[in-house]
């Protein structure tokens, strides 16, 4: 017996009888924990299969899994964005890619694979950055799922979706489901629940070695590797940019680090550690990605269909000692720079200079802004760009904040990488 899919004129394939036997058990009847608004039967099926448009950000470890799950669940109009190309080290978990695909666009190859494997699903790839797209683009989707490993990109999309919310237009509220490679899945309803920015302080601080340790007193193999990439590479290669994806560059760093380690009697520098340190590699396996991606898609399905209550609002899995998970409601922050509306109180010493404040903002766990520009409602304090303005405001760096901002006054912090500004209310100690 073989059933061929039938296509009508508009090239939309018909589903075969029995295709949704499994999913339809859920869509044909409510369960005890289903919202009364759930419209069991044809209406919800039509909405899921013919009307919902969903965006997947990232076609990597989480993205591949997310795309496959969404397609099988019955989402038919899927868009995917990814700026990366396929690397050999992706193949141990990014299961839509094969050896022959190495070097090609992740978004394109993933889309092609899904469309071949799951008939009738349209996947529209975009090989590029999320920042290339404007509000109109994001407005077209019902739900957005993020499978990213970049904090910056997630902050950007989170802020963009919060800004998109127009209280007059319910359609403008786009649920954001965020999957984290470390084992988190969460549902964000922009402006209603806690957003990505609200929980920024939950992120682990990246390990940073003091520059004097790297330069003068290395103790660990990592210190030697940092020396090679941070100090020795620019010294030898000048302006030539270090490409951490280039094995030859890694090999050069490895040799430099190994020589330094040898000189200092430090053991343990090898190629793999070198690559791990300079690329800040986080170990990754198929199974963790599968769990988190499945959880994200399950939430998307429940939100799209109302067939069951959805996650409120944070799920975290730790799988090293047995199976341990934690489900909790992360609270919205009133002083969240993206969704809170209130200025963040910051107490500083009256001696603090502009330069020191900038350093503080870069360091602070709940702020983490790489190149902040500062201004008050009436004047510019320091601007990172354009060059003329940077030069004009540079003399302020050594000034005390107290000279520029009165106690209780506000400073607006902006950065080119973030589509929002942060208001600080300054108090002096």
């Amino acid at each position: 017996m073989s059933v061929q899919p039938h296509f009508n004129g508009s090239a939309v394939p018909h589903d075969w009888a029995g295709r949704y036997y499994h999913i339809d058990q859920i869509l044909n009847a409510p369960g005890p924990r289903t919202d009364p608004a759930f419209l069991a039967g044809d209406e919800v099926k039509d909405f899921l299969r013919n009307q919902v448009k969903i965006l997947v950000i990232g076609a990597g470890g989480l993205g591949c899994e997310i795309l496959a799950n969404l397609a099988l669940t019955g989402f038919k109009d899927i868009h995917v964005i990814d700026m990366d190309t396929i690397d050999i080290s992706n193949l141990n978990r990014q299961f839509l890619f094969r050896q022959k695909d190495v070097g090609k666009s992740k978004a394109t190859i993933a889309a092609e694979f899904i469309m071949k494997r799951v008939p009738g699903v349209k996947v529209t790839p975009y090989h590029g950055k999320i920042q290339d797209k404007d509000d109109d683009y994001y407005m077209q989707f019902n739900i957005i799922i993020c499978g990213l490993d970049s904090v910056e990109a997630r902050r950007w999309i989170n802020a963009t979706l919060v800004n998109l919310v127009d209280p007059e237009n319910p359609e403008s509220l786009k649920p954001l489901i965020d999957g984290g490679f470390k084992g988190q899945a969460r549902v964000i309803l922009p402006t209603i629940t806690s957003c990505y920015e609200c929980s920024l302080d939950m992120l682990n601080k990246p390990t940073a070695f003091p520059i004097c340790t790297i330069a003068n007193t290395p103790r660990l193999p990592e210190h030697c590797i940092e020396w090679a990439s941070v100090l020795e590479w620019p010294r030898i290669h000048g302006d030539k940019k270090l490409d951490t994806d280039d094995p030859e560059h890694i090999t050069w760093l490895y040799k430099a680090a190994a020589a330094r380690a040898h000189e200092f009697n430090i053991e343990g520098v090898n190629w793999s550690l070198t690559q791990g340190v300079v690329k800040n590699i986080i170990p990754a396996i198929a199974s963790t990605n599968a769990i988190i991606a499945a959880s994200c898609c399950n939430e998307a399905f429940k939100i799209a269909t109302s067939s069951a209550a959805y996650l409120n609002n944070y799920f975290m899995l730790i799988g090293t000692d047995g199976v341990y998970s934690y489900t909790f409601e992360h609270e919205k922050r009133d002083d969240c720079p993206v969704c809170g509306g209130e200025a963040l109180d910051l107490s500083i010493s009256s001696n603090t200079t502009v330069e020191q404040l900038i350093e503080m903002l870069v360091e602070k766990q709940d702020i983490q802004i790489k190149k902040p520009s500062l201004s008050t409602p009436t004047k510019q304090i320091y601007l990172q760009a354009p060059p003329q303005l940077e030069e004009a405001t540079r003399p302020n760096l050594s000034k005390k904040i107290l000279e520029l901002v009165p106690a209780g006054g506000e400073i607006t912090v902006t950065a080119s990488t973030l589509p929002f500004s942060l208001s600080l209310r300054i108090n002096y100690t």
Partner: protein
């Protein structure tokens, strides 16, 4: 570029073989960072048997094929139905309908990794189990067996057969329906050296070994060059200050709160500059002086295993090493030293010097373990790599006792069930719901795939039917928690045979992860029944 050439010539001496990893190592790079070459080798030598090729089974296998198991067999005699084609990513939609389900899924799974060997077996489990001897021989060729939604009668038979002979592989039992699922691993005993648990070994500041103590006492802190002073590692400072303290306190470390404060003040007073970082570090680590380095209670418990009184040679390597460790702790009242020293404020010279002291001492103590092993006659077949691993991880060894599948229900007094119903009613209700559902379906023959073919309506099951079956599983006097049970039962009768793609993918990840832990003998697998609810999105263990 002249300098870079210098570096190259300087390093050629210490670079022995190919520097850049080969393509296999690069493919597995992200996972090798989790379980190293030893874990990878265990995976590559493993043979997995999966009973059925449901969406869930395929998802589990996907997450095992990708990291590179050696071999997998899918035992399934059924033919791909239109329903299968709709929910399994490892079938090619309608093109697969009518073909052998095992063959199709093996084909699409094997594509994921050229290094993995996959085979479809279209025989029937029922018939195979009718010949227990032949079945045991066949099952014995596998490392682990995984069964998803298997007929209850067959599961009883299979789990008993695998349990009766300790040499037969562990069994992973997976049940799922709609948004609810559970799984458990049946195994006899699982010993883990590389548990990766986050407990850190003692630095022995309170019981400094001679080289460390001598070094700490040899330093003239008072007349030292200020720069040198700021480079003495906190470990050395603490050993010295503690020694001095003990000399004036009857050999005792600080006991009371005021004493501890005084001790910290003593450290603080050593500062030459107001921000001497190594001294500050010593102050913040001062608690190590009054935390006694002793054998942790979890490890003591392992050392009281009655088997350790048996002759070493009759024991497996893990227990021979444990026996040697027991003797070592009886002599020294402490675990052998590990050579790993955390990073601390110091210059290179001082740090490396200290590191070498730890390393030498650790090597001596490891040698003592080896000597004990030899004296005991247990050294045969225990290589140096294993001893090394064992000693390094002595503070976080782990033994899981394991149990047969279904034991929870068969306990005479039912104490664990009663506890679970009280302390975790949601989890317990879900477990009993899934067990009851499996029994109801098995009675109707509905889990047998070939019988279900072409039948597009899911079976109608009533809440009363399910409740009666669940109550029959409870010990007398126990009852189902009402609210939780209603939620579970209602959800199960809604979708009794739904193998949802997202639930399948979630279980696929979770089960594969535990299977990898079992195979690699690294990390700690789940000990008990893991229950999953994908409505509220939680997991729990009973």
């Amino acid at each position: 570029m002249a300098d870079s050439k210098d570096i190259e010539s300087a390093t050629t001496a210490i670079i022995l073989d190919g520097i850049v990893p080969d393509s296999r190592t690069r493919r597995y790079d992200r996972q090798l960072r989790l379980w190293a070459a030893s874990g990878q080798s265990a995976l590559e030598h493993s043979r997995i048997l999966v009973l059925s090729s449901s969406a869930t089974s395929s998802s589990i296998l996907k997450n095992l094929v990708l990291p590179g198991i050696g071999h997998f067999t899918i035992l399934d005699k059924s033919i791909v139905t239109p329903e299968d084609a709709g929910n399994n990513f490892f079938l090619e939609g309608p093109d697969s309908i009518g073909k052998s389900r095992a063959e199709e899924t093996v084909h699409f799974l094997a594509e994921l990794n050229e290094g993995v060997d996959g085979r479809a077996d279209t025989r029937e489990l029922r018939e195979l189990l009718n010949d227990p001897k032949g079945a045991a021989e066949w099952l014995g060729t596998y490392t682990i067996v995984i069964a998803h939604n298997l007929d209850n009668g067959l599961l009883e038979k299979l789990s008993t057969l695998l349990w009766e002979d300790e040499s037969l592989p562990p069994l992973v039992v997976v049940h799922s329906a709609g948004f609810l699922a559970e799984f458990a691993i049946q195994f006899h005993e699982h010993t883990i050296i590389e548990s990766h648990l986050e407990s850190s070994p003692s630095l022995r500041i309170d019981k400094a070994f001679p080289a460390l103590r001598d070094y700490a006492l040899s330093l003239d802190f008072q007349n030292m060059d200020p720069t040198d002073h700021s480079h003495i590692p906190y470990v050395v400072i603490l050993v010295r200050v503690l020694e001095e303290w003990r000399n004036t306190h009857n050999g005792l470390p600080p006991q009371t709160y005021p004493e501890k404060q005084a001790f910290k003040a003593k450290i603080s007073s050593m500062k030459r500059k107001f921000d001497e970082e190594n001294v500050e570090e010593a102050e913040s680590q001062a608690y190590r002086c009054w935390t006694t380095s002793a054998v942790p209670s979890e490890i003591s418990a392992l050392l009281s295993d009655p088997r350790l009184s048996q002759p070493a040679l009759s024991l497996p390597p893990f227990f021979r090493l444990l026996k040697a460790l027991k003797k070592f702790t009886e002599r020294h009242d402490i675990l052998p030293l590990t050579s790993t020293l955390p990073d601390m404020k110091a210059n290179t010279e001082e740090y490396v010097k200290l590191q070498r002291m730890y390393k030498n001492r650790a090597a001596e103590e490891k040698a003592e373990i080896r000597e004990i092993l030899v004296e005991d006659g247990g050294a045969e077949g225990v290589d140096d790599v294993l001893i090394d691993q064992f000693v390094k991880n002595a503070h976080r060894l782990k033994i899981l006792n394991g149990r047969k599948w279904g034991t929870l229900e068969k306990e005479k007094d039912g104490e664990r069930i009663i506890n679970a119903l009280e302390s975790s009613p949601k989890q317990a209700a879900t477990h009993f719901g899934l067990s009851a559902l499996q029994r109801v379906l098995s009675k109707r023959g509905n889990t047998n795939q070939s019988q279900r073919q072409g039948q597009l309506q899911p079976p109608k099951i009533t809440i009363e039917e399910l409740t009666a079956e669940a109550q029959a599983l409870l010990p007398s006097g126990a009852s189902l928690p009402e609210t939780e049970w209603n939620e579970v039962a209602g959800e199960l009768v809604r979708a009794p045979t739904a193998d949802l793609p997202n639930s399948a993918a979630f279980l696929g990840g979770l089960v594969a992860q535990e299977v990898i832990k079992m195979i690699t003998k690294q990390y700690v697998p789940v000990d008990g029944i893991c229950v999953i609810d994908l409505i509220e999105t939680w997991t729990g263990v009973i």
